[in-house]
Symmetry: C2
Subunit: 100 residues, 2 copies
């Protein structure tokens, strides 16, 4: 499970699902994340082979992060967990307010 460990790691993976994103784009995608933590997570996920870091030779240069093929395999799993979470929340609301 270490592969998705750390605060915001699943969010980072999730926001890369549609294609490459830059550092500051990810910061805006995941509002309350700090630069420090985003940087840490990106480096960890890169070290584990979940994401790839690419420096684009544009003017000005920019850095892009994207999922590796293996990283992409995590998406359905994260989806499934989130969906169970939603069902659980709905059920717990019903327990508290039986008319819901």
């Amino acid at each position: 499970m270490a592969v998705i460990a750390g605060a915001w790691a699943p969010n980072v993976i999730w926001h890369l699902r549609a294609g490459p994103r830059r550092f500051n784009e990810l910061r805006l995608d995941i509002p309350p994340i700090s630069a420090k933590v985003l940087s840490q997570r990106l480096r960890e996920l890169e070290g584990r082979g979940v994401i790839r870091r690419t420096i684009q030779p544009t003017t000005p240069p920019s850095v892009e992060y994207s999922l590796t093929p293996l990283g992409t395999e995590l998406l359905p799993a994260l989806d499934a967990i989130v969906e169970v979470g939603h069902k659980l929340k709905a059920r717990n609301r019903m327990d508290d307010h039986p008319q819901g």
Copy 2:
């Protein structure tokens, strides 16, 4: 993701996949887990609706933990994550030892 948060939570879920287990059985299933943490995780997972706690009126009485239907839905997701982890480990070994 809070649904699987906390140390050993995925292991607890995993070891309930084949049916109910008792407290001390889970302790032995997950060797380095402490009673305190196992107790905490069981209580959290129960509170979230992932597992169910049942007191068996046997002699002596025993306590059994089992997955709820929603908890069972987490198994394929955990499987998928673990499998990606295995592939990642294999790939990283190859990177370090190109003949592997």
